[in-house]
């Protein structure tokens, strides 16, 4: 379980968020962690995370980093505190990002685009069912 991940956390083909859990101290880590950062154990196993979390912060990216992202702009990036512990950077799909407060409940929304692009897509809990994550 030491292969370097190429994305924030792996989303399996079934739409589950896969992370690493320490077999010795039970702490959770992002996929790709090389050893446990709590107890130094090397015994990490792949485990399914809930995909639930709380918004820590967000920003609307108006000016993307490269032409590759221009068609998608503006888009929202967000820091999410997963209920398992780790904080991850992802994208948030919502119509009114400026109105979503820090601390709002968000859930992972598996999508083909985010899986292919290597990023996590979140949607506010309140908006689940209202729309489809398009990112």
């Amino acid at each position: 379980m030491t292969a370097q991940a190429d994305s924030a956390a792996s989303v399996s083909s079934k739409g589950s968020l896969m992370m690493l859990r320490c077999l010795d101290c039970d702490s959770w880590h992002r996929d790709g962690a090389l050893s446990c950062r709590v107890c130094l154990s090397a015994r990490l196993e792949s485990a399914k995370a809930s995909g639930n979390g709380r918004l820590y912060s967000l920003s609307i990216v108006n000016r993307p980093p490269s032409p590759r992202y221009e068609a998608e702009a503006p888009y929202v990036i967000c820091l999410v505190d997963l209920s398992e512990g780790p904080r991850v950077l992802g994208r948030l799909v919502t119509d009114a990002p400026a109105d979503i407060p820090a601390g709002a409940a968000v859930v992972l929304k598996p999508s083909a685009a985010s899986a292919a692009g290597g990023w996590l897509l979140f949607v506010p809990q309140d908006e689940v069912g209202d729309k489809k994550g398009s990112g």
Partner: protein, 381 residues
């Protein structure tokens, strides 16, 4: 007993948005000028601390500069790589080397031909500094990283973009009094709020300019400084701290290593924020200044934006800040925060001189609020 308190006896700056010079040429020219300013020769220097050029770097860069300049042999040649904290961290390290008698005189150089050598847009190149595994795939940018701190500040403390816009406005007013400043045209709060959105809640005028930069300092013991041609500036205290590297790992975007570094610096100086006459605060984005004001203890946590909006940062305010216009309007880099503090404490800041400036605070912030170094500098008696 010998007084080994580190003292700045030489200073130099080279200006220009796009100098067209190589990184090595910038290092050598400001290094030479700082030695001339200190009236020292090559044989007087036994240590060198530099940064690491973003685009034209090479291994053991400080040694390369030392060799090119003619400083070899030296006891220490260390190149640091801490983004915006590099200049202050280099002075911190130089001070420790001098205090511990590892070196007697250290040349500090921080320079880069960052804009001259850049072949893609700065926002594109700088985004490569973001975590390539976990963060870059989202399409994140450096401004968006700081924007998330701003969003958090809005949410936790009720601050508003018009409050931190005052920081950019004051920086512009200061730049207008500084020879060589890159942006001197009038800027109002309304202009800031109407500037193009870059990464909400930050706009173009909340972001620093990108330019080449070059500056150098000669630091020696207080004993040796007695013979210097200019009034020495004493490193009264310094500190350095790192709370995270990439932003996903920051325990708290609003409180952390910035305060640790500042408290170390003030503690070693035996001074308080209230003793500071002039502050040079790393201003890659307006919100960074807000966070440094709070964590360095110039105002209460959460009140940085309101403090700035109150006019406290004006030349006649409680805490004159970034008297040359800073990175928002003077030049990029972080080295000019240090050189400007030296100018102020020498009483050599011309039109922008803060009257009776005796104590200066300088803060460097690198990465994504990641790396922090702080200096408390004083006018020698």
């Amino acid at each position: 007993m010998a007084n080994r308190t580190p003292s700045v006896i030489g200073v130099s700056e080279r200006l220009g948005k796009r100098t067209g010079a190589s990184a090595l040429e910038l290092h050598v020219s400001v290094g030479r000028d700082a030695l001339l300013d200190a009236n020292l020769g090559l044989g007087d220097v036994d240590g060198i601390v530099t940064g690491s050029p973003m685009l034209e770097g090479s291994s053991a860069y400080a040694a390369r500069v030392a060799e090119t300049l003619g400083l070899m042999p030296v006891a220490v040649a260390n190149s640091l790589d801490l983004g915006g904290a590099t200049a202050c961290a280099a002075v911190h390290l130089a001070g420790l080397l001098i205090e511990q008698a590892v070196c007697s005189t250290v040349l500090v150089i921080y320079a880069d031909n960052r804009l001259s050598a850049m072949t893609v847009s700065p926002v594109t190149r700088l985004a490569e500094e973001i975590d390539p595994v976990y963060e870059q795939p989202t399409g994140a940018t450096v401004p968006a990283m700081y924007a998330m701190a701003a969003h958090r500040h809005m949410n936790c403390h009720g601050s508003t973009p018009d409050e931190w816009a005052v920081i950019a406005v004051q920086a512009r007013l200061n730049a207008a009094r500084t020879p060589g400043a890159l942006r001197t045209e009038t800027l109002t709060v309304k202009d800031v709020l109407n500037s193009p959105p870059v990464a909400w809640p930050l706009r173009a005028a909340d972001c620093c300019l990108v330019s080449d930069f070059a500056g150098a300092l000669v630091i020696t013991t207080q004993d040796r400084a007695m013979a210097a041609p200019h009034r020495p500036v004493t490193v009264l205290g310094s500190g350095q701290a790192h709370g995270h590297n990439y932003i996903s790992e920051a325990p708290d975007l609003l409180d952390g290593a910035a305060g640790v570094a500042a408290r170390q610096a003030f503690g070693r100086a035996g001074l308080q924020p209230a003793d500071v006459d002039v502050a040079q605060l790393y201003d890659c984005f307006t919100i960074a200044v807000v966070l440094e004001l709070e964590q360095a203890g110039f105002c209460a946590p959460g009140e940085g934006a309101a403090y700035a909006a109150s006019g406290a940062l004006a030349p006649d305010g409680q805490l004159p800040f970034n008297t040359n216009g800073g990175m928002l309007s003077f030049h990029n880099g972080g080295i000019y925060h240090v050189t400007e503090a030296v100018h102020q404490l020498r009483g050599a800041a011309g039109q922008r001189q803060v009257r009776d400036a005796e104590v200066a605070y300088v803060h460097g912030n690198g990465g994504f609020l990641s790396h922090h170094a702080a200096l408390v500098l004083g006018r020698s008696r």
